[in-house]
């Protein structure tokens, strides 16, 4: 019926075709670098000297080098840092976010503080943390990296959670209070399950932020406690032989986040439009 009112369906059709072209172009732009690095990771040193070579016998030499380079230990360290950081951030952040969302604790000053903390130049925080780490003799360990990552992850996670609590209905929780639960019980048993998907998405997002950080980890723990990004940065050489290994190392760091990202993207779009970053 409604198409009767459109005077120019032809224009709209052309508009849609243009849209599909844009999406196809964007898809190629996103996919080709990954594909290229995937190819390179199976090439030998001399094959790498011929960048446009596509038909070649793949070999696993590069992958063997990378998998024996301690990259798994680094990946485990990154995972440990990420999990500890995110666990603290989610527990502390969800309690605080609930208080801010329901009781407007601290008014707009709190919200401003949490927003401002997200955009602090990392260089402002890192030198005192480095200095403190030296004094406490925890320099070069993961403790200092976790502290630094908390400063990075906690504000983002809290900001997201405030939005999710804002969007959650209040009726069930009020009913729980009437039924005799204490306020904290109501929070833990009734409110938290309601925003479960939001907490999951925030946690994965916070984990990715921590997993990807190079700046803090490079300064605070460059040596034996190298996290994955620091280790990857170590493959930064430009002799042909090692390019293949570098490609394999890049893929090792990329694959886990790609998997994680597929799980949260739906929630991110919903979370942002549902109030997480309410404009």
């Amino acid at each position: 019926m409604s198409s009767l009112f459109i005077k120019n369906p032809e224009k709209i059709r052309r508009w849609n075709i243009a849209g599909n072209f844009i999406l196809a172009g964007a898809g190629i732009a996103v996919a080709s670098p990954f594909l290229w690095v995937l190819f390179a990771s199976f090439k030998s040193g001399s094959q790498l000297n011929n960048p446009t070579l596509i038909a070649f016998t793949p070999n696993l030499e590069n992958w063997k080098i990378v998998l024996n380079s301690g990259i798994f230990q680094s990946a485990l360290r990154s995972a440990a840092v990420g999990i500890i950081t995110v666990s603290i951030a989610i527990i502390v952040g969800s309690m605080g976010a609930y208080s801010i969302s329901r009781y407007k604790t601290g008014g707009s000053a709190t919200r401003f503080g949490i927003l401002a903390a997200q955009v602090l130049p990392p260089a402002v925080l890192v030198f005192p943390l480095l200095d403190l780490a030296y004094r406490l003799r925890v320099n070069g360990t993961l403790t200092s990296v976790i502290a630094a990552h908390l400063s990075l992850v906690l504000p983002v996670v809290t900001w997201f959670l405030i939005g999710f609590f804002d969007a959650a209905p209040k009726e069930v929780e009020e009913q729980a209070l009437v039924d005799g639960l204490s306020r904290f019980q109501a929070f833990r048993k009734v409110v938290l399950p309601q925003v479960g998907p939001g907490i999951g998405a925030s946690a994965i997002f916070g984990f990715v932020v921590s997993w990807n950080d190079l700046f803090y980890a490079l300064i605070l723990a460059p040596g034996n406690a190298a996290t994955l990004p620091v280790r990857i940065a170590g493959f930064n050489t430009f002799r042909g032989v090692e390019l293949g290994a570098m490609s394999a190392a890049i893929l090792v760091s990329v694959i886990p986040v790609l998997i994680a990202s597929f799980f949260i993207q739906r929630h991110l779009v919903r979370g942002i439009s549902g109030g997480a970053v309410k404009f």
Binding site: K11, A26, P33, I91, A116, A117, F127, N212, I232, I250
Partner: protein, 284 residues
């Protein structure tokens, strides 16, 4: 103590420890000539570091480099991001898959992205210069006066998806009525875009641009992975310059002063951003 304060307690404590302490301590450091190699010779020098930094031409040139980087990168990301977000919104089939797929670059470790493009764009071993060569174009992506734009291109590849995410969320939250009205009146898609979509999206566009600009001011990994500030100091962004001062030359006092000056600029932008957000919140 009331319930709401008890719930806030842990958050406030960690904020103070992980952000408040370093923030104050960094200010204290910036008032000294602290060098990590000569810790016992540390003296209070008042605002002398700030004076030195403000008179340092490298500081201003790295601020300029960062500004050029931010402006070109964010304009490109906004234009491309808006086109993709609108195309995604109109898409009929495979919606979820396309969205997930196109958003992937923003989740990838930035250092890996930097190394990936260093490889792809390398003038001897990279595939892109090799392909350009075949059609007779000889372009050195990291040569003088070009390197900064190659870094911009990398940022666009990685962060346009974030722009898409924000704009798509914005587009989907807009009320449908004005679009219906425009359709019934037979407005052309371009007219609808200019007179309905853009004005309604304006607050979100402002916030998205501010968020991306503040994020882009932190650019470090691509410079660290690819150019290390070169050729000369043409890609020496503020974050990389501060890193060099503090870590390579151990001048933590000076590096702290540099980052504090940057903080002043950033915070004034955030005040504008926050004002905007609160205003829109009040309107609802």
């Amino acid at each position: 103590m009331s319930f709401r304060l008890r719930m806030m307690g842990p958050l406030i404590m960690i904020f103070l420890a992980a952000i408040g302490y370093p923030l104050l301590s960094s200010f204290a450091l910036s008032l000294t000539n602290y060098k990590i190699t000569q810790r016992n010779a540390t003296k209070f020098v008042g605002l002398a570091q700030y004076k030195d930094v403000l008179q340092d031409r490298s500081y201003w040139s790295s601020l300029t480099v960062t500004l050029i980087f931010i402006i070109t990168a964010v304009i490109l990301e906004l234009a491309i991001g808006l086109a993709i977000a609108m195309a995604l919104q109109n898409q009929k089939r495979f919606r979820n898959f396309t969205r997930s797929f196109l958003l992937t670059p923003m989740f990838v470790t930035p250092i890996a992205v930097g190394l990936m493009f260093r490889f792809l764009l390398n003038d001897q071993l990279g595939v892109i210069p090799a392909l350009l060569n075949k059609i007779g174009i000889n372009y050195d992506f990291f040569g003088p006066s070009r390197a900064i734009y190659s870094i911009v291109a990398i940022d666009v590849w990685q962060w346009t998806p974030f722009m898409v995410l924000l704009l798509l969320a914005g587009l989907e939250s807009l009320s449908k009525q004005p679009f219906e009205a425009a359709r019934v009146d037979g407005a052309s898609p371009f007219y609808t875009f200019r007179r309905v979509t853009l004005p309604m999206l304006a607050p979100i566009l402002t916030v998205a641009v501010l968020i991306r600009s503040l994020d882009a001011s932190k650019v470090f990994e691509y410079v660290y992975a690819i150019t290390r500030g070169g050729p000369g100091t043409q890609t020496q962004t503020i974050q990389y310059f501060t890193y060099k001062t503090g870590i390579q030359f151990y001048r933590l006092g000076q590096a702290s002063a540099m980052s504090y000056l940057l903080l002043l600029i950033v915070i004034s932008i955030v005040v504008v951003l926050f004002h905007r957000i609160e205003k829109v919140r009040a309107m609802e």
